[in-house]
Amino acid sequence: MQRYQRGDAAAFEQMYRRHRDPVFRYLLRGCSNRERAAELFQDVWMSVVKSAAAWEPRAKFTTWLYRLAHNRLIDDYRLARLPTESIDDELPVAAPEHEQPEAAVCGAQRLRRVLVAVQGLPVEQREAFLLKEEGGMSLEEIGTATGVGRETVKSRLRYALAKLRQELGDVL
């Protein structure tokens, strides 16, 4: 980022390639809509470009980047008054366990169930989970990005893991 501040456009491209997919997935899991996720993704990176001149290396660039993404998601939640739709229509809803045939326990469906379970988490827990999984952030960094304390992040992650374990106990 400092190289980009000095005018090295190639440094920005390198940085973009590194964080592009995790940020997009974070947004996609957060808003449950690919089109909307693409708009938010573009907004986040445009904010990075505009704010690059004023950026100061007080924290990791990843933390700053996901904070921007988190704020965009919060704005989107406020606009859409989420959480109202917790499940993407494109994704097939997992059938109850007793209705599923034995073949349903195959790999593809298992993975989809994981994604559906993640999207079924409450917003705060899901964000903490996604920031850890997509951004590779520590508890402190997640707290900085979301504006809460470390223990709060810890608690949210605990609840999220417990819920996922409960939802996906048969496939894990």
């Binding site: 980009y4 005018g7 090295d8 456009a9 920005f12 491209e13 973009y16 592009r20 997919d21 940020v23 997009f24 997935r25 996609l28 899991r29 693409a38 993704f41 573009q42 990176w45 445009m46 470009v49 505009k50 690059a52 001149a53 298992r110 993975l111 989809r112 994981v114 994604l115 993640v118 850890k132 999984e133 997509e134 520590s138 508890l139 810890k154 992650l157 605990r158 893991l161 417990a162 996922l164 374990r165 996906l168 496939v171 894990l172």
Partner: protein, 404 residues
């Protein structure tokens, strides 16, 4: 031991943070194929490059300001040099160049005259020795048998010609104005067709100055002939009257008590006519009718006097030009010729009044140099009334104080 004491959730959380939790593995496996749309890459990367380019353009280097200052100075100096090289502009910037040239010529003639006198005195003492050169070309003439006095006379002739080349335009205008004024005043008593006599030459030997005026004039090598107006009007050299207050309706011409004897007499008999109308003390002895009559009469005289002064100022236009300004005073019905001429003089004065102040100043100085103190004073008063905010030069300020 410590791990046994931990809550089960803590163990699970630690595994998750370490990336060892099965949920974490399952999620990574499920979402690894999700990628950002590639169509956004070009837009975002181009925006990033544009931002870098704009930042480079808007960043101003340090050397811009000193270079700008230096360029401004260079351009200013170039413009000034070009202006100074242009002779017309330089003449405008230094309007008194001709006068300074004249002064220089006078000083040179003084010096040369002194040298000549010294050399001649030496020649008289030692006649056997060849005469000292009176000037640059006096020695060859002396060797050729030409007397030193004749050489000096030629030298003076050349100086007079040089000086006349400066004075000729002013004299032409003066001749025009005098011819126009005609027989109006004693100042301009000479007929307009009379040619101006040639200035008398200074005799070769300094001890034999001709004329009684030589004692009062500086021996500058030339003795200009006083104009006929000066000879005919000794009253023109009278001490100057107090400055005349300007009256919008009457113009700004000061009184001239030497133009007409009747006017002078009236001025002496009734000095209050030169004051402002509201300054006139109440005449207890006269009734209002008589006072009004006196005022009208005084204003008419004043107007006729102004006509003469306007003609003396020197006209720059044809006398047949229509009068652009007329005083709201009824002239005396007796003399219609005087009215006509006064109108013409008004137009002449108006045409001169449109001249810039420098022309006025030059004209006043010229009059002073020729000894026409009264005309110079009148013109100066007119100039002051027309240009009250103009800062007079030092010499004219002194002249004004002296006139007061």
């Amino acid at each position: 031991m410590s791990s046994e004491r931990k809550m089960p959730d803590d163990k699970e959380l630690e595994d998750f943070l370490a990336g060892l939790h099965p949920v974490s593995k399952a999620y990574n496996e499920a979402s690894k194929d999700e990628c950002a749309p590639p169509e956004l890459d070009a837009a975002i990367l181009s925006a990033a490059r544009d931002a870098v380019r704009v930042r480079r353009v808007t960043r101003r280097p340090r050397w811009v300001q000193p270079v700008a200052v230096a360029a401004t100075l260079a351009v200013s100096l170039g413009v000034l040099m070009n202006l100074w090289r242009d002779p017309a502009t330089r003449q405008q910037m230094a309007p008194t160049a001709a006068e300074s040239e004249l002064e220089r010529a006078k000083q040179a003639s003084l010096k040369e005259e002194a040298d000549t006198a010294l050399s001649e005195s030496k020649a008289e003492e030692t006649p056997a020795v060849a005469p000292a050169p009176a000037s640059r070309d006096a020695a060859p003439r002396a060797q050729a048998g030409v007397p030193a006095g004749a050489a000096l006379a030629d030298e003076v002739d050349r100086r007079e010609d040089f000086e006349h080349s400066f004075r000729r335009p002013l004299e032409d205008t003066e001749k025009k104005s005098k011819a126009f004024a005609g027989t109006q005043s004693e100042v301009l008593a000479a007929p307009p067709g009379v040619p101006r006599p040639e200035p008398r030459r200074d005799p070769a030997k300094p001890g034999t100055e001709a004329g009684p005026e030589s004692s009062t004039r500086p021996s500058t090598g030339f003795v200009p002939e006083p104009p006929p107006a000066m000879k005919a009007a000794p009253a023109a050299a009278a001490p100057p009257p107090p400055p005349f207050p300007t009256t919008p309706g009457l113009g700004a011409q000061p009184p001239s008590n030497s133009v007409e004897p009747s006017t002078a007499g009236a001025g002496a008999a009734r000095p209050e006519v030169y004051d402002r109308m509201d300054d006139v003390p109440p005449a207890a002895a006269k009734d209002d009718r008589q006072q009004t009559h006196d005022k009208l009469e005084a204003m008419a005289k004043e107007r006729s006097r102004r006509d003469v002064d306007g003609a003396a100022i020197g006209s720059m236009s044809a006398p047949s030009a229509p009068a652009s300004r007329s005083a709201p005073v009824m002239p005396p019905p007796a003399d219609k010729a005087v009215q006509q001429e006064s109108r013409e003089a008004d137009s002449a004065e108006d045409s001169f009044a449109t001249a810039p102040p420098d022309v006025w100043i030059r004209r006043i100085r010229d009059l002073r140099e020729r000894g026409e103190e009264k005309s110079a004073r009148d013109l100066l008063n007119s100039f002051r009334s027309r240009y009250p905010d103009y800062v007079l030069p030092q010499d004219l300020r002194a002249f004004l104080v002296e006139a007061r």
